[in-house]
Amino acid sequence: MSTFHDGSTSTHPYKEPSPLPSSIPKVDELGTTSAPLKSAAFFIGAYCKDYNEDFMLCKAENRDPAHCLKEGRRVTRCAQDLITKMRENCLKQFDEHWSCLEANNQVLNNRCRKPERTLNKCMFEKLVRPDQNHPGSPPSQKPIHEVEKPVFTGVQK
């Protein structure tokens, strides 16, 4: 016995295979995965600040995906530009840092300070200096990423 099921009643995951219409300018998606993105997060924030803020303000106006396509393309292009430059200039330090993050549940904590400091040193000289001002941190203490002898380091793995 078979019954007809309308397509809208499906409970299976759905993939839309057709690409965007050709009237929309084509921008390739960012191919960086989660750990390198987390490692580059502060640098993306500083390098692409204007485009990111534009996009967020646009989204705050209207959550419809079609409304913010232009700002979204700019964000993608800026991030791609920065990742390309990071790979050209600081590839070794970048790889070390995100490999360390990946081995530590991708948490930016004291366990990966050494590679983080070498990556920061390389990036500050060559590319961009992000403002690592952590809002909400107590002003009397040094920011945690600058503390020389932290109490909580890692466990032996």
């Binding site: 809208s8 009643t9 499906s10 409970t11 299976h12 995951p13 759905y14 993939k15 839309e16 295979p17 057709s18 690409p19 965007l20 390739d28 998606e29 960012l30 191919g31 960086t32 995965t33 989660s34 750990a35 390198p36 991030a79 791609q80 990742i83 390309t84 790979r87 970048f94 790889d95 995100w98 990946e102 081995a103 549940n105 991708q106 793995k157």
Partner: protein, 85 residues
Amino acid sequence: MPVPWEALIPFGLLTAMFGTAGTLMNVSKRGQNLGKSPRYHVDPWDEMMMERDKRLTGHIRGQSTEPIAPEGFATSSVWYTQKTN
């Protein structure tokens, strides 16, 4: 006096069994996570990022630093639907 070495057998057994169990667990977990220790405290954001990593590299723990995504990534995202009537 002869040393009662038979009394140490249980200790040896315990060590061997705990050690084997722990080692097998570790090997099994690392095998599932491409040689790394498993992710913990995974929240919906991390789940979303791991699913994106799977679309980019083929495994939820796979990583890459390519600036351009591979062919087909833009249309491979999955929308979960539900019955409404």
